[in-house]
């Protein structure tokens, strides 16, 4: 069973071929991003005279520096807030058998099916009344609320599967519910927190439409908005656009490669929830 047989070798070959097919678009992306605009050879032929001019051009024109800072800020702040409030909310929801608890849970789950289009205009007007339009904090507020249902769902599922023994021991020792949550439950939540963190971070970072609406008319942008605006403006120059796409992907891929194990486990973690 654990030996490397001839069949394993065949499987290895097939899987490598599949890997090449999956990586093909990325090859073209890099290949065209380093190509001079005057070079009109086939997009799959390796670029013979590479240039980094596209990257400097794209960086300057697309305002990617500011966009990256905004994206990091929005993602970090929203994810931290949503994790904190959702974990706190999930605990009573998972532990209480009262009718209000079940009702509240269902209400929050309703958020999983509501498409954002329903809320977009009224929310826009609320954000305006708060004076937050054009500010990245409007996005932090938005995602902090938007991601509550999904995150709470993850935590509740995880908590329901978690034995109550420790908590009961703690409360026998005279600890109140808050102390119990903080010192007993919270440490046990680590695996699901990694999952929630990864999934929320990816969702927030990649969102395109909300920032388009809430930041429009300002000079603030997030990475997806900056990229989309850049594509619209420089439609004529795919080498430049590919360089911009590549720049926008690199930070995400760097984090992914650095933390691949946690991230992959994080994505898979929803399974245990």
């Amino acid at each position: 069973m654990n030996r490397y047989t001839r069949r394993t070798l065949a499987l290895e070959m097939v899987m490598i071929a599949v890997g090449i097919v999956f990586a093909f678009p990325v090859y073209v992306l890099v290949n065209l991003a380093i190509r001079q605009p005057s070079d009109t050879s086939s997009p799959i032929a390796p670029t013979t005279a590479p240039t980094f001019g596209n990257f400097t051009g794209a960086w300057r024109e697309a305002g990617l520096g500011g966009a990256l800072i905004n994206s990091v800020l929005v993602t970090t702040a929203s994810v931290l807030i949503v994790l904190a409030v959702s974990a706190l909310a999930a605990y009573p929801l998972a532990r209480s058998a009262a009718r209000w608890s079940r009702g509240t849970f269902l209400l929050i789950m309703l958020g999983l099916v509501l498409p954002f289009q329903l809320a977009s205009l009224p929310l826009y007007q609320t954000v305006r009344d708060l004076g937050l339009l054009g500010s990245v904090w409007s996005l932090v507020l938005f995602y902090s609320g938007l991601q509550v249902p999904f995150t709470t769902f993850l935590y509740v599922g995880f908590l329901r599967a978690l034995p109550r023994d420790f908590e009961e021991a703690a409360s026998i020792d005279g600890a109140g519910p808050f102390t119990t949550f903080r010192y007993v439950v919270l440490p046990m939540l680590k695996p699901i927190t990694v999952t929630a963190l990864v999934l929320n971070a990816v969702a927030v970072w990649n969102d395109f439409f909300t920032p388009l609406l809430y930041l429009s008319g300002s000079d603030q942008q997030t990475v997806p908005v900056a990229v989309a605006g850049f594509v619209g403006q420089f439609v004529s120059d795919w080498n430049l656009i590919f360089a911009a796409l590549l720049i926008s992907i690199v930070p995400v891929l760097a984090v992914y490669l650095a933390l691949q194990r946690s991230i992959i486990n994080g994505f898979a973690g929803g399974l245990k929830g």
Partner: protein, 421 residues
């Protein structure tokens, strides 16, 4: 231990959030308080920058906060902003009706400031007044004029040994010859659906309005329909051009951008587009020479008309925070200096006579047509709602992909037209 640090971090972040929220709140609210800041939203990427610079130079101490975006995104944003009271002081407004950012659409609910008492408002030629005004009042500072025709790449044309066709019969032969030489006559990039209408407009100008100058009025009064008019001829000729090989392969997979590359580099002999294309083609091929001619739609050149109409202009927000400065900006756009700057950068013709604008030599024929009053406004500018044009645009894509027929498209347009405003 870890938990405590986490809680601390969250509360710290919340505090930061609130602080920043307050500060940015005041910033957003104080935009026009000092009478020195103008907010502006525009779709004129590539030309508005210079205009703003010149305006700021002419008015020391004034700062213009402007944003630019593509037409699609802009139209989505401006509606949300106007209905929520967050729109900028000055904004791009399209002439006439029929698109979600057009004069009638925005003026009707009262979102635009009446500009009738501005000196230029009375000087606009009659054909522009109809699309700059709503119920007799002027709302739109229209500075530029655009036409649609066949734009030829002069080098490619002479290399092919062919000459630009002067009649419909010559056009079809020209297409066949050009295709035979491996360089199709015209680039067509209808992956972007707005491009689908240009050839049709160029043909309809002559076939529809050459035959009946008052067609629009008849359409409005219900005496005429698209499906029972010369529009069917224009549609048929569009199809005939396609069959004659006038366009390169795979037009539906070709974007506006890709079509520019084809025409600029001589892989096609030309392109049927608006005059703004000349500037874009020259960006791609700085040594190129491009000439615009009327697209022949019949065999009697004397009957040719060209579609020519005001391009997008600027309107003032009725609730502008800084009306005085907004009007100053509008005055600047309509002054000879502003108009020259805008139109030379965009490759368009000025709407007012004495603007001193240098017009690209490739546009000589269009200039003559305008002077001789042989132009027709873009057809959609007087249609009652945006859906007429939208069903034409997606309908034409469907015709090109054999999902629909020209007749069905025209019938759909009639149905939408009848729904009115």
């Amino acid at each position: 231990m870890k938990a405590r640090r986490f809680t601390a971090l969250v509360s710290a972040l919340t505090a930061v959030t609130l602080a920043a929220a307050c500060s940015s709140g005041t910033k957003a609210g104080s935009g026009g308080g000092d009478n020195k800041t103008l907010t502006l939203a525009s779709v004129d990427q590539g030309s508005i920058e210079d205009v703003v610079k010149a305006f700021e130079a002419a008015n020391p101490g004034v700062k213009v906060n402007f944003t630019t975006s593509g037409a699609d995104q802009y139209q989505a944003q401006i509606r949300t902003q106007l209905s929520s009271g967050t729109a900028p002081d000055v904004m791009t407004v399209w002439p006439g009706n029929g698109n979600p950012g057009a004069t009638y659409v925005l003026a009707k609910p009262g979102y635009l400031l009446d500009l009738s008492d501005q000196p230029w408002a009375g000087q606009l030629p009659e054909s522009f007044k109809t699309v700059a005004q709503y119920e007799g009042k002027t709302y739109n500072a229209l500075f530029g004029l655009n036409g649609i025709g066949a734009v030829y790449n002069d080098q490619a044309l002479s290399k092919s040994g062919l000459t630009a066709p002067a009649t419909w019969t010559e056009l079809l032969k020209f297409c066949g010859d050009a295709a035979g030489k491996g360089t199709p006559a015209f680039a067509l990039g209808i992956q972007d659906n707005w491009v689908t209408q240009l050839v049709l407009y160029a043909l309809a100008a002559t076939t529809v309005f050459g035959a009946d100058k008052d067609f629009d009025a008849k359409l409005q009064s219900g005496q005429a329909t698209f499906a029972n008019s010369q529009w069917t001829t224009a549609m048929a000729k569009y199809q005939e051009m396609n069959k004659a090989g006038c366009f390169q392969k795979n037009p539906l997979g070709t974007s506006y951008e890709a079509s520019q590359t084809l025409a600029a580099t001589g892989r096609t002999l030309g392109i049927v587009q608006g005059n703004w294309i000349i500037g874009l083609l020259k960006q791609k091929n700085p040594n190129g020479k491009f000439t615009m001619k009327a697209l022949p739609a019949t065999d009697t050149p004397a009957s040719f008309l060209m579609p020519a109409a005001a391009g997008a202009g600027y309107g003032v927000n009725a609730k502008a925070e800084n009306k005085e400065l907004a009007l100053k900006f509008i005055t600047f756009i309509m002054s000879p200096a502003g108009m020259k700057l805008f139109n030379e950068k965009q490759g368009s013709l000025p709407t007012l006579a004495d603007a001193g604008t240098t017009v690209d030599p490739g546009l000589a024929e269009l200039t003559t047509f305008v002077k001789d009053n042989r132009t027709v406004p873009f057809m959609d500018q007087l249609w009652p709602n945006a859906k007429v044009q939208q069903s034409m645009l997606s309908g034409l894509q469907e015709v090109f992909s054999n999902q629909s027929t020209p007749n069905k498209v025209l019938q759909d347009m009639d149905a939408e037209y009848k729904k009115g405003a």
